[in-house]
Amino acid sequence: MSTRELTCIGCPLGCAVTVTLKDGSVTAVTGNTCPRGDTYARKEVTNPTRIVTSTVHVTGGIHPMVNVKTSSDIPKDKIFACMDALKGVRAAAPVRIGDVILSNAAGTGADIIAAGNVPAK
């Protein structure tokens, strides 16, 4: 039996969560103050994931850049692959929140979607 101390990143409260593991599987999660913490802790010790946010250039918009993010969390070790996939990607204005900018980024199954509005110039 082993334990791991984590800080939940589910929300800014940052609860100190303790995960108890036996033979590589989670037997208990304590210290979390909401169900999100339980989910986070179980994932973090088995398959850690993150939402990735970045920006891409916009052509013909009132702003040069638009905020983008992965449509769901992706494995932590795919973060840089995802950033590489975004290199050189350009979006044409108008861009609306939720527009798909790049599908299946770096083979993660997650799309890159717009997280900001950029009207056309």
Partner: protein
Amino acid sequence: MKYYDLVIVGGGPAGLAAAVSARDCGIEDILILERDNELGGILNQCIHNGFGLHTFKEELTGPEYAARFIDQVTERGIDCRLHTMVMDISVDTEAGSFRKKVTAMNRTDGMFEISAAAVILAMGCRERSRGALNIPGFRPAGIFSAGTAQRLVNMEGYMPGREVVILGSGDIGLIMARRMTLEGAKVKVVAELMPYSGGLKRNIVQCLDDFGIPLKLSHTVIDIEGKHRVSAVTIAEVGADRKPIPGTEERYTCDTLLLSCGLIPENELSKGAGIALSPVTSGPIVNDSLETSIEGVFACGNVLHVHDLVDYVSQEAAAAGKHAADYIRHGNKKHAKTVEIRSTDGVRYTVPKYVRPTEMSDTLTVRFRVGDVYKNCSIAVYFDDICVSRRRRPVMAPGEMEQIILEKKKLGEYPDLCSITIRIEK
């Protein structure tokens, strides 16, 4: 002079939520004045996620969170003037009743004055600069506040540098450590003067630990080298007196130094208007209705005190909007009894500072920060000498805002109440 019931200074998260709330409380005649070319304020450059968990029960990026409120303002047809800088707020003596005069300017209208029954201050805050920090060394290019770098990278599409040292572990510094790393820069170290981080724990995990960026607590920058561009930064450990310890110097070659050393509420307008400011928060001193020392002038968001979470800003601003609406309709309850909230023993300040037991809402959220890291301590609330509540907290730190709730009913049970004290106890 054009008249509005309510003028809101600033179109960031606080101003937007205040406007929506005041409109929903029945105030038709509202004007938002914003100096930038769009609404949303600092949220527009905060492209990371984690906003809105409390308000919308989902994790949004800054621009997404801003868009939700901008849509609400647009749906309600609330007037906004962009590119407009407010120059002065004063009491309008000519209007007879207790009106406020807001002087503003922009490129199309020039300088103009607006008369208002109520004003909500929502100007936000500003970053502490190198000059304010007194960092020794040369003055080459490549030294940015973390927020400036954030704007350059996220909104304008420029990379400020390739090899980075960050001073200060405030949230913007942590967020920028990750952001610069994702964009291909090498962040060599984050140095923090204090023995604890000024940022949220979750940001240390997901911005530093995830990328193996070292955080050196009790360290500060003691030298900056470089003629045209930063070429190296030297950091050293500091003792309990926060002075560098000789022999602990470490030199990092780099081309960029980012500063994330605290935020200061931007209160030049408040000062000009003669509003009483708190020396601790640098924001206006307010009562339970978030009204400042000038009748009919309210404050909310980071201009009042610096928040960790935009969700709390929105809540506070909604309260300010509601109270401003009450004031516009019913005027000020000047003679209501006022009770001071005293902060001692680890509690640095409270917002609000004064409560009117007969006028307050049924419940009042009092927010504050502690002055040090406290483990397994309690937040105790005293009505005069009587302890009315104690709440155990496993960890409290200056970087994370705390709160207590006061109930009107409970205050009503103490008709002779003179003061409320909030303190940290073992």
